[in-house]
């Protein structure tokens, strides 16, 4: 199919084209308690083609592996005639030849799947905390990127996901905790530690009392929910957000009106240990540059798609897959001092990158006030990053969540807690 496509594209008369071939081999296992609910295997290939007339934005379509040569020709011809209707400012496709070697090491999905099964099986369960169900997804993805300027690159990489539900119970009352862990392959020790941590959280939640009314108290986040706080900065550093006038960030200027908070530094990196997004070349054929995005609270430059980058006058750019935030000025221990409320479990914690709104229903937290600690549940947290970011403090220690490294603990002011009593 790839040769058919290349031949048809060469004869099409387009002013440019981009082609991505994605091959996926995936194994999936679904367990209820520890009994196999279902096993699944998938073996698929997808061809995404974008054709351009005058390089004004192009039109993206999918070619099926089952299409005949004449069907491919007709689809491409239809794409091209429709592409001429999509009028955007012109931009150029990637033309720099890729000197990096292709990443071709095969992924042993059988071994990774086995590691996940064994890691979950190794978690010690008790009468009061156990595993309800889990789902294992292990993929080998082969991404082959080509364009009309002769750019070509192939990357083979693993992508895995473990979804697990843990139960905890006390005196006839049972609760559950949902976790979704994304990674490249399986880090057995980390899986085990993460599941055990979820069980501990469950134990505490059973002992929780309703969140009281509290005012003017700092909020501490120390779990994966904190990723949303830091993604507010990466999302607003994206070229599309800027070009669409959604982002308030300006190149060379502070990303917020810093008022004593730890100033953000975040870097783009090509690869992160065990990330599920370790491909050194983006889908447009740009080699991912390792560089600072924000340094000491000031935006160095926007990152993202070539089209919107060029509209902003950035000639060379790439779509970043892995981010690393620097740690802050204090230790995690120091951050956890005085009065504060540490929230560790939500129904769904959200930070709206567009407006900065923060919201989440609290499922578990620890209220530290006047030297006492109460385990609390219920109510919600709300507020805005516009008010919280300028003074936020975060820990020197960092933590990795798949494709992002962030400070392990962050302390925020100016958020509101709505209690339930």
């Amino acid at each position: 199919m790839l040769e058919t496509l290349k031949k048809s594209l060469a004869a099409l008369g387009a002013d440019g084209w981009e082609l991505t071939e994605n091959k996926t081999r995936r194994w999936e296992f679904y367990f209820i308690r520890h009994a196999l609910d279902q096993n699944r295997a998938a073996d698929t290939v997808n061809y995404n083609v974008k054709v351009f007339k005058k390089l004004e934005g192009g039109l993206l379509g999918e070619i099926n592996p089952t299409d005949t040569a004449s069907e491919v020709e007709k689809k491409l011809s239809d794409l091209l005639s429709r592409a001429s209707l999509v009028k955007n400012p012109e931009y150029s496709l990637v033309s720099e030849k890729i000197t990096l070697p292709d990443k071709t090491e095969r992924v042993d999905i059988q071994k990774i799947a086995r590691d996940f099964i064994e890691a979950v099986a190794s978690v010690p369960e008790t009468e009061t905390e156990d595993i309800n169900s889990y789902e294992i997804f292990v993929s080998e993805i082969t991404r082959h990127t080509l364009n009309s300027n002769g750019v070509e690159y192939t990357a083979v990489y693993p992508a895995s996901m473990l979804e697990i539900v843990v139960n905890a119970r006390r005196e006839g009352h049972e609760i559950e905790l949902y976790r979704q862990f994304n990674s490249g392959s399986c880090d057995k020790e980390k899986v085990r530690a993460d599941v055990l941590a979820a069980m501990r959280t469950g134990r505490d939640r059973l002992a929780a009392e309703p969140t009281p009314r509290v005012e003017n108290i700092d909020v501490v986040l120390s779990t994966e929910d904190a990723v949303s706080v830091f993604e507010y900065f990466t999302m607003n550093s994206n070229v599309q957000a800027k070009y669409r006038r959604i982002s308030p960030f300006e190149q060379g200027k502070p990303v917020c009106d810093w008022q004593g908070g730890d100033k953000i530094t975040v870097r783009a990196v090509r690869e992160l240990d065990n990330s599920s997004r370790n491909f050194p070349v983006d889908a447009e054929g740009s080699v991912i540059e390792e560089r600072d995005i924000i340094k000491d609270g000031v935006l160095c430059d926007f990152w993202g798609q070539r089209q919107f980058s060029q509209y902003l006058g950035i000639e060379k750019n790439s779509v970043i897959s892995n981010f690393v935030f620097d740690g802050g000025s204090m230790s995690a221990e120091k951050l956890r001092s005085g009065d504060y409320i540490e929230l560790v479990e939500f129904s769904d914690f959200q930070v709206d990158s567009m407006g900065g709104d923060v919201a989440g229903e609290i499922r578990l937290g620890y209220l530290h006030k006047d030297g006492e600690t109460k385990i609390i549940t219920g109510g919600s947290v709300s507020g805005s990053m516009l008010e919280a970011a300028p003074t936020m403090k975060y820990s020197r220690e960092t933590a990795q969540y798949n494709n992002i490294v962030i400070p392990a603990v962050v302390r925020l002011k100016n958020l509101r807690i709505t209690g339930v009593k």
Partner: protein
């Protein structure tokens, strides 16, 4: 042999699927020599997606439901296994590939000492169905230039009329769904089209934040439904003016009135996810213990099923070959039943309800919602407002999160309009986080209007994955909730 009926309208069934059906039937027969049950679901769904704004235009023939591929489901020794593929080969070669992949998996499972969740065999009594639903303009055949012009015109109009708008984006997508389900004894084929469109705008708020709002249209049919955006977009200027001037709400418990989009969000989060019966199998849903018990006031009746509305999810059969249903989940406040996929139904000893859905052919089936809708009442909106001393009329859903195990609910709502002494004060608050305990929320329902709106823009996940099209809605409801 059961014969369910024929509807011949305008969304013509995929010639590609018709052409591969004989070979797929051979595949079923070949695999049938090794397994006790075999089915194949094949899809060929073409579509379009357009995004037009002042800043950029984007058109693609892909969206979240476009796909072409097949999945084989086999059963032996109490275990169901699946193999998904999208390259077509002879039946013999496909059978060989499927068996090789699944046998390798079974070897791993044996090596790790994994036990099987023993499940009975699916029914395969004979059935045939052929459905082609109505659609004037199929998504894959639409005049792209005409819709680019229409959306550009709407965006331009919005820029002139919406106060402070930084951009007005019009986004639409549509898919001509074609699915074929085959077993040794069944041949089900369906073809229908759905579309969804929204006009969205954003503008700076008074506190330096960004305010975002949108209006939408959706339904079962062709691209012609998108012309409805012309009328809808006329409401955006007023909404944006309210948002820009909005204040923060003082947290507390209030009397509330929910508009149909917020009512739909409650339906979806409260007793949508809460009664997906694959969660009953895992003992993950409190609803299991509340069948025939009160979970809402007498004013609360709720339906679920693909047959409840001609929406974006109005299929004729689900992804396991079960015919579309219409289930009364809550009848005057009493929880009667949930919704169920075929395998969970076998495990629970009940009949499936036509709610077995996949994100795509290469994803697993889960119990999923279709149309989740509160029934209408006989009250008037103005009487609801008059009945409130201090509360809010909540409009515009943003997002929600389910908690089937504990019946907590979290809904993020775009805006609330203050009501004092039986009248709207003109004060708008935004955003509003509504949280609470589902039975409290539903038992608090004292009034419901006689109208009803069902919408299906966006997608629903199970946990944080498996995105499928759903629709929900209902009338205006009056109840109490905690807002923050």
């Amino acid at each position: 042999m059961a014969f369910y009926g024929v509807i011949i309208l305008k969304a013509i069934f995929s010639q590609y699927l018709a052409s591969i059906a004989p070979e797929l039937k051979r595949l079923v027969a070949i695999l049938g020599e090794s397994y006790d049950y075999v089915s194949v679901l094949s899809t060929d769904s073409k579509g379009i997606s357009l995004t037009i704004s002042q800043r950029a235009k984007n058109v693609t023939t892909q969206n979240i439901t476009t796909e072409r591929g097949s999945v084989v489901r086999v059963y032996k020794n109490g275990l169901y296994s699946e193999y998904a593929f999208n390259s077509f080969d002879s039946a013999e070669k496909l059978a060989e590939k499927a068996k090789e992949a699944l046998d390798s998996q079974l070897a791993l499972l044996k090596a790790t000492g994994s036990k099987v969740y023993d499940t009975a065999k699916l029914d395969d009594s004979p059935a045939e169905l052929f459905v082609e639903k109505d659609a004037e303009i199929l998504p894959e055949e639409c005049d792209v230039g005409e819709f680019i012009r229409l959306f550009t015109e709407l965006s331009d109009e919005g820029m002139k009329t919406i106060p402070g708008a930084l951009d007005v984006m019009v986004r639409a997508s549509g898919t001509h769904i074609n699915k074929m389900f085959l077993t040794a004894n069944r041949d089900l084929r369906q073809s229908y089209s759905y579309v969804e469109g929204l006009a969205a705008s954003y503008a700076p708020g008074k506190d330096g934040d960004m305010k975002f709002t949108h209006v939408g249209v959706s339904g079962c049919g062709g691209m012609e439904l998108l012309y409805g955006l012309r009328e809808k977009i006329t409401t955006l200027p007023g909404i944006m003016a309210d948002l820009v001037a909005s204040e923060k709400i003082v947290p507390g418990e209030y009397d509330i009135i929910t508009d149909p989009t917020v009512t739909g969000l409650i339906a979806h989060e409260a007793f949508g996810h809460g009664v997906e019966m694959d969660m009953f199998v895992k003992n993950r849903a409190l609803g299991k213990d509340y069948i025939d018990k009160r979970v809402g006031s007498d004013k609360v009746t709720m339906h679920e099923g693909a047959r409840c509305d001609e929406s974006v999810t109005a299929f004729a059969f689900d992804d396991e070959g079960t015919l579309a249903g219409d289930v009364t989940e809550i009848d005057h406040g009493i929880l009667k039943t949930g919704i169920c996929d075929a395998l969970s139904a076998l495990r629970l000893g009940i009949e499936p309800t036509g709610n077995g859905k996949r994100q795509s052919y290469d994803h697993k089936v889960y119990t999923r919602m279709t149309n989740t809708v509160f029934d209408s009442g006989d009250d008037k909106l103005e009487d609801m407002i008059k009945s409130i001393d201090h509360g809010y009329l909540l409009r515009g859903m943003q997002s929600g999160m389910e908690d089937p195990k504990h019946w907590g609910i979290q809904c993020i709502i775009e805006r609330g309009y203050e009501i004092k002494d039986g009248a709207l004060t003109g004060v708008c608050v935004s955003p509003v986080v509504m949280t609470g305990y589902v039975p409290d929320l539903l038992c608090g329902v004292t009034m419901a209007t006689s109208d009803r709106v069902v919408e299906g823009n966006g997608a629903c996940g199970k946990g944080y994955k498996e995105w499928v099209k759903v629709a929900d809605g209902g009338p205006y409801l009056k109840t109490k909730a905690r807002l923050g």
